[in-house]
C-alpha cells in the first residue's frame, strides 16, 4: 500500500491524526470492523438456522472436543507469540521479531492442519454441505459448519501468508510454493484439501505481486498492523469454538 500517509509525520503541516496513530493502522482497524460484520452475519445465519431447527444434531464427542481444544490452545498461544513479536519489533530487535513471527506462523499452521484433519474425518463420516449422518432432516448443520469454519480457516491461512511476507519478504515465496507442493502431494485426490491447498498458490501469486510491484522494508508498524489482523482472527475463533463446538457436544 502506498504511503501518502507519510506526510503527517511532519509536525505542523497536518492536523494531528486520530489517537496519534498512523494511516495503515486505522485502515486495518476499519477493515476489521467490516470483517467483523461479515462474520457477524455468518454467525447470525448459523444461529437463525439453529433456533429454527429443534432437532439440531450434537455430534461432537470427546475426540472432537479435545481436538478443538488443542486448536484453541494453538491460537491462544499464537496471540501471545504475536504480542511478543510486536514488542520485539518496537524495540528494534529484528532477529527476535522474526523468530516470534515464525512461532506465530507455526501455531497458525498447526491450527489449519488440525482443522483440516478434523474436516477430513467429518467428511469421511458422511458430512457434506447439504447433509449429515446425525440428523438428515437438518441439512443446515453441514452448511453452517463448513461455511463458518471454512471462512475462518481461510482467514487463518491468509494470516500465516501475511506474517510470512512481513517476516521474510521475497524469501518467503519459495517457502510458500514448497508448502503448496507438499500439501498438494500429501493429500489424496479424493480429499477436499487436494483442491483447497491451491489457496496457497493463489496466496503466493498475490504475495509476489505485492512484493515485486511495491518492494519495501517492513518496519515495526507493519508488524503491529499484521498483529491486529492476527488477533482478530483469533478472536473470531473464540466465538466459533463455543457456538459451533461446545454447544453441539454429545453428552
Amino acid at each position: 500500500m502506498a504511503d501518502a500517509a507519510v506526510h503527517h509525520d511532519i509536525a505542523g503541516v497536518y492536523e494531528p491524526s486520530l489517537f496519534g496513530t498512523y494511516s495503515k493502522k486505522i485502515g486495518m482497524w476499519l477493515f476489521l470492523a467490516s470483517d467483523s460484520l461479515t462474520f457477524g452475519a455468518l454467525l447470525f445465519a448459523y444461529s437463525y438456522g439453529r433456533v429454527s431447527n429443534p432437532s439440531w444434531p450434537t455430534p461432537f464427542g470427546k475426540e472432537s472436543i479435545i481436538n478443538a481444544t488443542i486448536m484453541t490452545a494453538c491460537l491462544l498461544s499464537s496471540s501471545l507469540t504475536m504480542v511478543l513479536g510486536v514488542l520485539a519489533a518496537h524495540r528494534g530487535d529484528k532477529i527476535r521479531t522474526r523468530n516470534w513471527l515464525f512461532a506465530t506462523m507455526f501455531f497458525g499452521a498447526a491450527f489449519v492442519l488440525l482443522h483440516g484433519m478434523e474436516w477430513s474425518k467429518l467428511i469421511h463420516e458422511g458430512m457434506t454441505p447439504f447433509t449429515n449422518p446425525w440428523a438428515p432432516s437438518v441439512p443446515q448443520f453441514g452448511g453452517t459448519f463448513f461455511t463458518l469454519t471454512g471462512m475462518h480457516m481461510l482467514h487463518v491461512t491468509i494470516g500465516v501468508i501475511y506474517l510470512g511476507v512481513v517476516a521474510l519478504r521475497k524469501k518467503f515465496l519459495p517457502v510458500l510454493l514448497l508448502l503448496w507442493l507438499i500439501g498438494w502431494l500429501a493429500t489424496p485426490a479424493s480429499n477436499v484439501f487436494h483442491l483447497g491447498v491451491h489457496v496457497l498458490l493463489i496466496g503466493a501469486v498475490v504475495a509476489a505481486m505485492v512484493l515485486f510491484l511495491h518492494p519495501k522494508d517492513y518496519d515495526s508498524h507493519d508488524v503491529e498492523v499484521s498483529g491486529l489482523y492476527w488477533h482478530f482472527v483469533d478472536l473470531v475463533w473464540m466465538f466459533i469454538f463455543p457456538l459451533v463446538y461446545l454447544m453441539s457436544t454429545r453428552v
Binding site: 500517509a5 460484520l37 455468518l42 438456522g49
Partner: protein
C-alpha cells in the same frame, strides 16, 4: 520511514497508461468513477424507457429484445434497479465526486491509500462488466433485492441460471470494491486534514462522504456474507435460504398423490427465505442513505454558497447526518412488514423509522433557513440544489406513511412504493449528482457549463420527474401492483391506463432532456467559457488551487486553514466571502 522533506507520495506519472488508465491520482480515479456512472445511468435509463413503453403498448415489439414476455419485463426491472442503485447512485456521488474533492477539500495531496483507491475503481469496473455480461446469457428476474428462493434456485425461472450467478458475482465484487473505497475515505478524513482543518471546520460535503463511507464499511460486509451463502445455496447444494417442498417444475396444479419428491421438488429443505431478507435489508437500508447522504452534503454546500450566507446550523447538520446514519442501521425490518413478522417487532421498527423524520426535518428546515433572506444567485447548480430539497421533501413525506405496518401492508406491493423511493432515493440523489456536476465542472475541466442549456435541463427534469413519479403514488392507492408487465389483462386497472400513458410520455420527454445535459457536458469541455479559479466566489479549499488542480492538488505547498467552511457576508470583511485559508483576522464584533 519518515522523510523530512515534503514530497508527494508518488511522482506525477508519465505515459498514457499510468496517467489515465491505472492512475493512482484520486482526481483521475474520481473522473473514472464519474464516467463509469455516466455510462451506467444511460443503460439504466434506457431500460426504464423500455419498461414504460411496454406498459402502454404491451404488444409492441421492441428493438433488440423483440416481443416482450413477462420475464423479459422482470429482467428489465432487475437490471434497471441493480445498475441504478449500485453503479449510479453509489458510484457517482461517493466514488466520483468524493474521490475527486474529499482530499482537496481537506487540504490533502491524495487519498491515504492511492493503490487501494485504484484497485477499488478497477474492481468496480469489472463488477459492472460482469453485470452487463448477464444480459447476454439471460438476466435474472429477482429484482435488485434478489429475494430467495427465486434467486437461490437456478431452475426457478429463465435467467436464474448463469445470469443470476453473474449477478451475484457482480454484487460480491462491488462489495469488495466498496469496502476498499470506504476504509480509504475514512482513513483519509481522519488522518490527512491540513493544519487548522479540524473536524468541525470540514465542509458538509466532507462530512457527508465520511458518514457515507462509514455506512458502506459496515453495510457491505453483511451483503458480502449474504452473497457467499447465496452462491453456496445455488452451487454447493446447501439450503440456507430455500425451504422444503418447493416446486419449480412448471406444474401449476397439484397432481394426484402430491408432487414426487424425487422429480418435482427442489432438493432442499429447512432453509428460510426470511434469512436472506434480514441479511439483505441490513445492508439495503443503509444503502439508500449511501445514495442520498452525499446529495445532502452537496445541497448544503451549494445553498450556502449561492445564498451568500453561512449554512444555518452547521453542527445541527452534522449531528443530523450522523443520526440518520445510525438510525439507518436499526430500521431494516420496515422492508419486511409483509413477511408476517411479530407485531411487536414491526412496532419497534416502525417507531425507529419514523424517528428518522426528526433529523430529516432538521436538515430541511436548516436548508430553508439558509436561503431565507439570502442574496440568492440562481445559477444552474443552485437550481438543482433547490430541486434536491424539493424532491427530498416530496419523496420523504410518503416515508412516515410506509413506516406504519397498517398502511404499508396494503401499499407495499403497489406502485406507491416505487413512487416513494424513486422520488427520494432515485431522483433526489440524481439531482444531487447534477448539482455537483454543474458546480464542480469548472474546477474539473477548466470551463464553465452553458447556463441556458443547464436551465432547460433543470426545468425539463424537474417537471418531468414529478410528472412520472407523483402519479405513481395515486396509482398505488388505486391498487396498481408493482412488477406487473401488462395492465391490459386486468380489468380493474383499465381506468388507470390513461394516467400510465401520461407517465410514459413524461418519461420520454424527461429522457430526451437528459441528452441536453450530455451535449452540454461534452460541448462545454471543449468550447465552454474559460473558468476562473473561483468562479462561484466560494470559500472551500478546492477553489484556492489552480484549475484544474495540479497532480499534488496544491502545487507543493499545503494550505493552512484559519476559517470555517461557510463564512459568507461576514461583517467588516473586504469581500462577501472569507476563504478557508485566508489569514486569520481578529474577530469583528
Amino acid at each position: 520511514m519518515a522523510s523530512t522533506e515534503i514530497v508527494h507520495a508518488h511522482a506525477a506519472p508519465q505515459g498514457f497508461i499510468r496517467k489515465y488508465v491505472f492512475s493512482l491520482d484520486h482526481k483521475v480515479i474520481g473522473l473514472q468513477y464519474y464516467f463509469l456512472a455516466l455510462i451506467a445511468v444511460f443503460v439504466g435509463m434506457g431500460l426504464s424507457l423500455l419498461m414504460r413503453i411496454h406498459l402502454i403498448w404491451p404488444t409492441a415489439s421492441l428493438p433488440i429484445f423483440g416481443d416482450i414476455k413477462p420475464e423479459t419485463y422482470l429482467m428489465f426491472v432487475t437490471m434497471h434497479g441493480t445498475i441504478m442503485v449500485f453503479f449510479v447512485l453509489t458510484t457517482a456521488p461517493q466514488g466520483g465526486f468524493g474521490n475527486y474533492f474529499l482530499p482537496i477539500q481537506i487540504g490533502a495531496p491524495d487519498m491515504a491509500f492511492p493503490t487501494l483507491n485504484m484497485l477499488s475503481f478497477w474492481t468496480t469496473f469489472v463488477a459492472f462488466v460482469v453485470l452487463i455480461a448477464a444480459f447476454f446469457v439471460g438476466a435474472p428476474l429477482h429484482g435488485w433485492t434478489g429475494y430467495a428462493p427465486l434467486s437461490a434456485v437456478p431452475s426457478s425461472g429463465p435467467g436464474e441460471g448463469l445470469g443470476a450467478d453473474l449477478w451475484i458475482t457482480s454484487i460480491a465484487l462491488f462489495c469488495a470494491a466498496s469496502l476498499m473505497g470506504a476504509l480509504n475515505f475514512i482513513t483519509t478524513t481522519l488522518d490527512m486534514r491540513a493544519k487548522g482543518m479540524s473536524m468541525m471546520r470540514m465542509p458538509l460535503t466532507c462530512w457527508a462522504w465520511f458518514i457515507t463511507a462509514i455506512l458502506g464499511l459496515l453495510a457491505f460486509g453483511v451483503l458480502a456474507a449474504g452473497g457467499i451463502l447465496l452462491l453456496m445455496d445455488r452451487n454447493l447444494g446447501t439450503s440456507f435460504f430455500v425451504p422444503g417442498g418447493l416446486n419449480f417444475t412448471g406444474q401449476t396444479s397439484f397432481p394426484p398423490g402430491g408432487f414426487s419428491p424425487s422429480t418435482d421438488l427442489v432438493k432442499h429443505n429447512g432453509g428460510s427465505p426470511l434469512l436472506w431478507q434480514h441479511l439483505f435489508w441490513f445492508f439495503g437500508h443503509p444503502e439508500v442513505y449511501i445514495a442520498i447522504v452525499p446529495g445532502m452534503g452537496v445541497a448544503s454546500q451549494l445553498l450556502s454558497t449561492f445564498s451568500r450566507k453561512p449554512i444555518f446550523g452547521y453542527r445541527a447538520m452534522v449531528y443530523a447526518m450522523l443520526a440518520i446514519g445510525i438510525l439507518g442501521f436499526v430500521v431494516w425490518g420496515h422492508h419486511m412488514f409483509m413477511s408476517g413478522m411479530s407485531p411487536y417487532s414491526a412496532f419497534a421498527f416502525s417507531i425507529m423509522t419514523m424517528a428518522i423524520g426528526v433529523p430529516s426535518a432538521i436538515k430541511t428546515f436548516n436548508w430553508i433557513g439558509t436561503i431565507y433572506k439570502g442574496r440568492v444567485r440562481f445559477h444552474t447548480p443552485m437550481l438543482f440544489a433547490i430541486g434536491f430539497v424539493s424532491l427530498f421533501v416530496s419523496g420523504g413525506l410518503s416515508g412516515p406513511f410506509l413506516a406504519q405496518p397498517v398502511l404499508d401492508i396494503p401499499l407495499h406491493d403497489t406502485a406507491y412504493v416505487p413512487g416513494h423511493f424513486h422520488l427520494i432515493m432515485g431522483v433526489a440523489a440524481i439531482f444531487g449528482i447534477f448539482a455537483a456536476t454543474y458546480y464542480w465542472f469548472p474546477k474539473m475541466f477548466g470551463h464553465m457549463m452553458n447556463e441556458t442549456l443547464g436551465r432547460w435541463h433543470f426545468f425539463i427534469t424537474l417537471v418531468g420527474t414529478y410528472s412520472i413519479f407523483m402519479p405513481m403514488h395515486y396509482l398505488g392507492m388505486a391498487g396498481q401492483p408493482r412488477r406487473y408487465s401488462q395492465l391490459t389483462e386486468v380489468a380493474y386497472l383499465h381506468p388507470l391506463i390513461p394516467l400510465n400513458r401520461f407517465m410514459t410520455y413524461a418519461a420520454i420527454v424527461t429522457i430526451a432532456g437528459q441528452f441536453i445535459f450530455l451535449f452540454n457536458l461534452f460541448w462545454s469541455m471543449a468550447k465552454g467559457r474559460k473558468a476562473a479559479d473561483n468562479p462561484w466566489e466560494a470559500t472551500t479549499l478546492e477553489w484556492t488551487t489552480a484549475t484544474p488542480p495540479p497532480h499534488d492538488n496544491f502545487g507543493g505547498r499545503t494550505p493552512v486553514v484559519n476559517h470555517g467552511p461557510y463564512e459568507y457576508s461576514v461583517p467588516g470583511a473586504p469581500r462577501d466571502y472569507v476563504m478557508q485559508n485566508d489569514p486569520a483576522t481578529a474577530p469583528v464584533h
